[in-house]
Amino acid sequence: MAGVSSTAWTELHCHSAFSFRDGASPPEALAARAAALGYRSLALTDHDNLCGLVAHARACADVGIRPIAGAEVTLASGAHLTLLARDAQGYRSLSSLLSHAHLAGEKDAPRITLEELAPYTIGMECLTGCRRGPVVGTLLAGNGEAASAALGRLCEIFGAAHVWVEVQRGGLADDNRLCYELARLARRHGLPTVATGNTHYACVEERDLQDVLVCLRHRRPLTAARPYLRPGAPWCLPEPTTIARRFQEYPGALRGAVALAERCAFDLSHIDTAFPAFPVPAGETADSYLRALVLGGARERYGAPLPDPVRQRLEHELGVIAALGMADYLLVVWDIVRYAQEQQILCQGRGSAVGSAVCYCLGITAVEPLTHHLSFERFLAPGRSDPADIDLDLPADRMGQSPAREAVIQYVLARYAGHAALVANVVTYQKRLAVHEVGMALGLAPGQIDALARDADLLVPEEADERAPASTPALLVGRALSLPESGVLRRLRRLSARLVGLPRHLSQHPGGIVLTARPLAEVVPVEHARMENRLVIQWDKESVERAGASGLAKVDLLGLGMLRAIDDCFALIAQQTGTRPTLHGLACDDPRVYEAICRGDTIGAFQIESRAQIAFCLPQLQPRTLGDLTVAVALVRPGPVQGNATHPYLRRRQGREAVRYPGGPAARPLVEPILADTLGVCLYQDQVIELCRAAGLDDAEAAEVRRAMSSGRSPARMAAVRARLDAALTVQGIDAAGRSEILDMVQAFSGYGFVRGHAAAFAYLAYLSMHLKLSFPAAFYTALLNAQPMGFYPTEVLTQDAARHGVRVLPPDLRARRADCTLEADGSVQLGLRLIRGLGADACARLEAALGAEPFPCDIEELCVRARLDEDEALALARAGALSCYIAERRQAMWQAPLVARAARERWLPSLRAAVDPPVHLAQPTPAERFALDRAALGLAPEGHVLTYLRPALSHRRLHRATDLETVPVSRMIEVAGQVIVLQSPPTAHGVWFMTLSDETGLINVVVPPGVYVRDRAAVRGEALVWIRGMVTRRGGVVALQVAWVRPLSSLLAMAHLARHARPFQV
């Protein structure tokens, strides 16, 4: 390579997986490969976005190469142009340009013309692009003069000093001619050439995945995708020798790449992440105004004069906030909360902010932090460089209701217009989707794909190791579909495993909003969200936190289904009692509430209704205070479970095990002060960070620990943290075994655990929901049913639970006139029309309008006319029994209603109707038939449990009911039958599956060992009603069945049928 070392060349045209189905490698893989090949820098030029830029910059920094920021911009003509940022101004130009293109075009179809680029060229370098570039494209069309004109136009727009003629040699037949003509064109215009590789994946081995992604983009199988696949040589990062050979006739292009790379000096610190100033009254600063608001709020909550501990805590917090320059941020959040309260929207802070007395006094959070020993340092601490992040819970928006959360979001977007937008969420391929997509690309039949996707968990290995043998279940699945392991199945597994985790598309974060002092479009590209009136940036939460020198500050406005239910419940209570309860200020000391929690009677309660809580945690923990409830909320999380904290904590709490501290005697002085109140185990993220600080990690390192735990939960980052902490613990004189114990505990938190304040905020809502369930059950269940889907259980389980609590649930009835469930004067719950299957939101709205008007429709015909019902909708109403006000008998209604609807729609004459619809008399359905109709129409049965109707048919077999289990001796083998309401296998369970069965008397906990699961998988996964034999176990007061086998209940019913009909004689 004349005049330039082969290792000096750098790739300036490189797509990552953030080019969304046109790049097969994540930025980290590209950076690692570039470093391994000896590159000194690497540009990232994804299609029309900077989604991967922060990850690229961090990854390059990690491997010691220089990142270059860029994008391949798609012009309105369809032509591609490669643009690179030269400096901070260039970055702002690039970001603004991409924002302009996205905001001018449709979602996923940015639109910008060559002329519109002109205002955004400062600080940018322009490469003429690939074969779809404006210059190369015209050359390929054989129009040399047009190509020359296009190049001249680029020089006018960008300045001749900043235009580079891009040459590529990708192993295509006309490469030679094209390079020759491009070089000639460059000479003619006096421009330099630059050699690029147009990389689409890191290594040659990724070519197959890139081909699959192209198939997904064009929705074609590989066999039909030839014209779309990238032809020629592999489009991976080339080895220096390869690139030298490819361009040996054009050494100037190699030198051009080096010179251009040197010219582009992007750095993450170029991104200005400053927070906007909050408009304060004249004469005030942000700090003084915040102080005044906080002290005012403190006097309301604590009384005047303030107790000393409170005053000292507030002074400390205000001092830290001032030192970190966070007053504006807190004022912005206070303003959002103030707006929500003004609009009577329930709003509560969660997360680490719950540890702040300032936030409590501003009304941002509900739990008093001093009494509950909540740490402020997890929220803000001197020296902390990462941005603050306050999460606010708001009622989740629901169709048909005024959108509370959306109102708050729109308030923020309008108040800080041009400086605020939602954070993105990068949606990645998960196993099931990956199997589905790869199956399509490999040309499998739709039926095969569906069957394989259902078993994606078994099929797709965790690691994409080609040599790894297929597991037995994977082989079984393949054999069942006649797919040999060595053929398509192997390819499917391998490609699916590699596809898992790659970005698929950009969506919105549930509620994260970033705010910047500078126009946001200059900081990060902004585009339209799918939802109306919403803007979203091109960075996800992780990128937002790591952008710039200190990350972008954001506020999370999160929709919480339980807050929606509580809000509705408050409204119903106000309707019943005339007084509307308030969200904050509950004493949390009612023994009746804790008794119910200890029994595990928590279906419908926030955070403590899961199978693990009811069947395992609550009965053993026996919570009696809000502090205990905080522990319960934190205990059943992946972090404590993986860190082996859950079982030891419960044993110690019950006095069955002595408290011991991890790390041995040498570590005890370090560990005991931090873990004493959690009985020697680590339950909260705060404890991990305190431990790191106590071990000697500085603030930046502690912040990295926090990020590793809460942001990406990246095992790789936790491993890096582990290494650093290991060194610190060694300095503290802790031996290898002790260090290993502490490090395992810390590393387990990469599996996710709560901050103590966050758990306390959730515990408060858990208590409140239980208080409402016990004190106002009918209102609570009504609100809960209206807030569906949410929580852990389907509607049917909630109505069964309501019945167990003495709340009568009535089937839908037109006379209630509402799509939502309503609370009747006698305390029963009237199910709403919305629950009827086959009635969409539109039909419900038409029905509400028709029924709301007086007089009430006198017959079905008038109803059909006024609500414009079609036959299917009329039938759905009849099947659910909602037409009982017109026709008492349900089958009769099902016969007549569709005909009436059709007659009304087609305006039949009465004579025709009489001819088509002669009077018929149908038999009344039996209770069991009514149950079946209810299940079909509503997905639930207000009148009873399915086992009530099946029990007589099962009498030939000795089956136990849920209520019998308390009295069955331990280790006894018994049989039960029930409806599966929960089925799960958490990653921490190592292949064990947990089921919750429900029968007419209650719930049964079932544990399915891995061997039984593999053998009886069809029944476990596929059956709604099961027949189980298992051994009774009782641990810590919790009764469960250890399963020996699982069978479909239908097999038992068939046996009963046979038993009845096998008798050789009749009596």
């Binding site: 192993g171 037949a173 490469d175 030679n176 070519r207 590989l222 696949l229 032809p231 050979r245 390819r491």
Partner: protein
């Protein structure tokens, strides 16, 4: 007139140090490649079932060369990626 050879015919080729073809044997004698007019790569259909054709070199990726031989004859030849053997696919008159 261009003549396409189906299937491609195996060819003896001697290469330069950089892997490019230098000499080929055609019509019973060695002939010097005086110019490489173009080169390109045809990727393999990796998704084809290898059980059907386990080691068919013609299904592997190919690196093509359009070569001028003895300054007069033009051929399209390629090298199979799996076993490195050379084939002639087109004779261009």
């Amino acid at each position: 007139m261009t003549r396409r050879l189906r299937p491609p015919v195996p060819l003896w080729v001697r290469c330069h140090a950089d892997g490019c073809p230098a000499v080929l044997r055609r019509g019973g004698r060695e002939r010097a490649i005086t110019r490489i007019a173009a080169t390109w790569v045809r990727p393999a259909p990796w998704w084809a079932d290898e059980e059907e054709a386990p080691a068919d070199p013609l299904r592997a990726a190919r690196t093509y060369y359009k070569v001028i031989v003895d300054g007069v004859a033009a051929y399209e030849i390629f090298q199979s990626a799996t076993e490195g053997r050379w084939y002639i696919e087109k004779v261009i008159d």
